[in-house]
Symmetry: D2
Subunit: 151 residues, 4 copies
Amino acid sequence: MNTRNAECTPVYNFNTEIRVRLPETDAMGVVFHGNYFTYLEVGRVDYLTNLGLCEGNQPISEFQNVVVSAHLDFKSPARLNEKLIIDIRTRKIKKASFTFEFRIRHKSENRLVATGYTTHCAIDDQYRPIPVSDHFRKVIAAFEGWATQKP
Amino acid sequence: MNTRNAECTPVYNFNTEIRVRLPETDAMGVVFHGNYFTYLEVGRVDYLTNLGLCEGNQPISEFQNVVVSAHLDFKSPARLNEKLIIDIRTRKIKKASFTFEFRIRHKSENRLVATGYTTHCAIDDQYRPIPVSDHFRKVIAAFEGWATQKP
Amino acid sequence: MNTRNAECTPVYNFNTEIRVRLPETDAMGVVFHGNYFTYLEVGRVDYLTNLGLCEGNQPISEFQNVVVSAHLDFKSPARLNEKLIIDIRTRKIKKASFTFEFRIRHKSENRLVATGYTTHCAIDDQYRPIPVSDHFRKVIAAFEGWATQKP
Amino acid sequence: MNTRNAECTPVYNFNTEIRVRLPETDAMGVVFHGNYFTYLEVGRVDYLTNLGLCEGNQPISEFQNVVVSAHLDFKSPARLNEKLIIDIRTRKIKKASFTFEFRIRHKSENRLVATGYTTHCAIDDQYRPIPVSDHFRKVIAAFEGWATQKP
């Protein structure tokens, strides 16, 4: 994998589709910006479920996690009933934290709606960071095609 | 159609499926009761879209509408990532108003989660009631198998 | 207490105020009907907090509860930034369940926005009904001015 | 104004208070991270209302705007019924865009919950950037104590 190019034009190997629901729009006629983070959540769960890392009633089955950073840049609006494609990839996995990257595209108009990322930290019951499990790391590295993934 | 039986055990000819998203749950560990009205909205839009009555960025394409009543009885809880089936039917269409009936079922456990209805009123730009269009009425009556539907 | 009059024009001894937030509105330009159930939740928590029945991170401090029915009739719309008054009263307390009644009024225009109720059931950890505590019952009966409240 | 110090420890001259509502929490027992953007929205509207820049049913009364970037770093969790203080300031105003900065603090425990910003762009009806009005710029510069504010 050419890392430099990957930085410029990240390769997304997974996506999911959502349809804009009425309560997700606001009085400006478009999706309220905060609700895109719900779409990222949906995409992340589908991505992790596809990898067998999300089972049952936990977002990630092997450990608890909290979101430590969330960022979105908005490129164009989306409206009621429109279908959006959520592209998801794992950008990196560090010792206790990991970052997912997202791209939201308008399905029928093929335009960019938003790009962004969320960074998560694996935690124990007292909200203290714990190492990401090896299994989690290996499954994602294999899926993303990382030759060697070092924390 | 035997109307009496239909009252007792309504026949649903359409359903849609949703998966419980994290922000739809609350700190009690289950879906917040108010969020089920979002699921009804999703079901209603899918139902109307299937009938060609919902096109573009309007919930109903032929006229504006407002919800005048919304009711749900909750039978059992639903949790994160669980799949729910939303059964939808039109219960009746009056001159300016119409009522949809819903049944929400837990997909894998086949248990009843909630039942309820929403009543809507067709309105003009000043929020005054207007008659439901004949086309809307006929399409639904045909789909629901109503022999003769009189407002 | 004159029950007949109470049925016709319920007396509300408590209210709370909210202001419509942008994500609570939808693309129709008004508050999404399902979001009014959030306003009822806010009103209920404020009502119970005022009576000392809601402390810490539980909706009701003495026992867990689930909503078993939720109903709203919508009278007129509310829009972004508008202030709404939520009137709350307890309508009745039965052995294991209790019903709150609500009236939502537009503050500056003094018009009725919605009326409705929510019925709750006290439950144990397995979601089985349990009796409402005597303390809960007495505090509410005293506040609502019920001469004698029999479950 | 000492810009360097302002960068390190921004001075907040305005704050607003919210209380965590049940539907804002999720099954992890804490506020869903995306819902903090709703709290920023509440803070921003209160900040602009206090300056007379937000009247009626528009987020900003003088021109339409879209959020172009939204970012939050999460420091510690917040739970049901907890009171949070939202500190708000304007970080900068450029030709067509402007950035608000936020700090969310837990009221009773005086700990940092989140910090972040939102960047907005003034737009016309076709979503094209337009210059921020002079009045908007002057009112904010005066409130924030900017000696000279150049776009």
